[in-house]
Amino acid sequence: MGNCSIPIIRMFHVHKTFGAQKSLVDISLDIYRNEFILVTGPSGAGKSTLLKLLYLAEPVTQGQVIVDGVNLDRIAGKRIAHLRRGFGIIFQDYKLIPTRTVFDNVALVLEAMGEKRRLIEKKVNSVLRTVEMEHKQGAFPLSLSGGEQQRVAVARAIAGSPRIILADEPTGSLDPDAAGIILALLKDIHQRGATVILATHDRMLIENAGGRSIHLVQGQLSPENQDNVAANGGTP
């Protein structure tokens, strides 16, 4: 583990509702640098919603979220894009662009960051080598298996060297062997210094991942996670 004394993510009494439905209720927690966090719980517990609040796909209804010192309540426009570049996001449904090759899908992150073409080629080749997909760089996503697509998604997530990896049910659509490969990749990324937050209800993943577990039940932290409450008493 790296420097665990500095919270990279802090949540203070966060609530999220969709209409009348409460998705998250009074969540307060700290996540430290270079932690490997498992966000667990049954379907509908609020795991994906919690991740979405972090990368601003959804706004917080009440409470505050601070990522790397930035209060998400106070950013808008371009700053949202810059914040997202600090995350590597992996989705259950991969979210690869079907009309772009594997290379282009991974390169997209670096293009968005304004990197030079030569550096993009070097980095994309490097991350594709890491996920062992270098030989498929000219292929289109739909010609790949689910496991291969998710490996490309992992490559895309780490291409921009983000500090935080958010993985939302990354093995949800994969067979156990492919899921094992993805978990190994995530552990490797963690070993290289990234904070990994993995939302899953996959038992295999929970048993083999290690790291700290945050268990959600009906949008609330389970009692054993209450010690995750922000050290300052829950106020920003």
Binding site: R85, L108, A112, R117, G160
Partner: protein, 290 residues
């Protein structure tokens, strides 16, 4: 920027039909605006060339005194648009006629008295074709003036028609440019909607709206520029064809067609490229507001 241009060209290639329709519409707009401009330029040039010889002939009343003649000349000189006034005494007019008749001058021998009146030749300043009728009217109302003649009575009406023609060209060209802008906007919107998911993914990986929209703006500019190029090329081809035909038909070179001036081409190109940009701007604004 290179990446945006590459993405714009790739998008255009993937949506060839939509972009082709948009390009043709821009080309059609340029063709209409350009054709009107070309016709107007040439007719206007011809009218201006004709204007240099606009002359009004003023015949004085029989019995008009020298003082009245002087006063009439003076009042004509003071009129706006008048360049030159020359008094032609009736005797000089007869001599001129005699010289013009040459061998038939003997016809004039039988005349007892000079039948020609004193007259005044009035040359107008160039660019006053639309004032000919009003100047002639004012001269005609002077007390010593018997009648007024000018060979270009039709020119005033023609100048009015020319202005109407120019107005129609501007309106029609403008309408077509607006239609082009809407079609480009629609093209961009259709492509954007077909790529909603892609746009969403781009946003999630940290792409700014500027990065996402840049290729669309570049496409708009390319459509505007290419449409302009195609439209102007067609006009030039038509011009070259007509010019060759007229030159062979009228060997004297009396009528020489001119192509659009650089200023006109620049204005049309700016409108065309500008409309491409505006079309995209409208689409992007609407899409990203949602």
């Amino acid at each position: 920027m290179t990446s945006s241009i590459r993405r714009a060209l790739r998008d255009m290639n993937e949506n060839r039909f939509l972009n082709g329709v948009a390009l043709l519409t821009v080309a059609l707009s340029v063709l209409i605006a350009g054709a009107f401009s070309l016709i107007w330029t040439n007719v206007d040039h011809w009218v201006r060339a004709s204007e240099t010889s606009i002359r009004v002939l003023v015949y004085l009343k029989d019995g008009a005194t020298e003082a009245q003649s002087h006063e009439t000349q003076q009042r004509i000189r003071e009129m706006d648009g008048v360049m030159k006034v020359q008094f032609i005494p009736r005797a000089q007019a007869l001599e001129t006629l005699r010289a013009q008749l040459q061998h038939q001058a003997s016809l004039l021998e039988g005349l007892g008295e000079n039948p020609l009146p004193d007259s005044i030749e009035v040359d107008l300043k160039s660019g006053r074709v639309h004032q000919v009728a009003s100047i002639a009217g004012r001269i005609g109302s002077l007390p010593a003036v018997d009648s007024v003649e000018y060979g270009q009575q039709w020119m005033g009406r023609f100048a009015g028609l020319l202005n109407l023609f120019r107005f129609a060209g501007v309106v029609l060209g403008g309408l077509f440019f607006i239609a082009s802008g809407l079609i480009i906007a629609n093209t961009a919107r259709l492509v954007l909607y077909s790529r909603r998911e892609e746009v969403e993914i781009m946003r999630l990986v940290g792409a700014t709206d500027g990065f996402i929209t840049a290729p669309f703006y570049i496409q708009g500019l390319i459509l505007g520029a290419c449409g302009c190029g195609v439209g102007l090329a067609v006009i030039y081809a038509a011009y070259a064809f007509m010019s060759a035909r007229l030159t062979s038909d009228l060997a004297s070179g009396f009528w020489q067609i001119r192509f659009l001036s650089l200023e006109s081409i620049a204005v049309i190109a700016c409108c065309s490229i500008g409309i491409g940009w505006i079309g995209c701007f409208l689409s992007m604004k609407q899409f990203f507001r949602k």
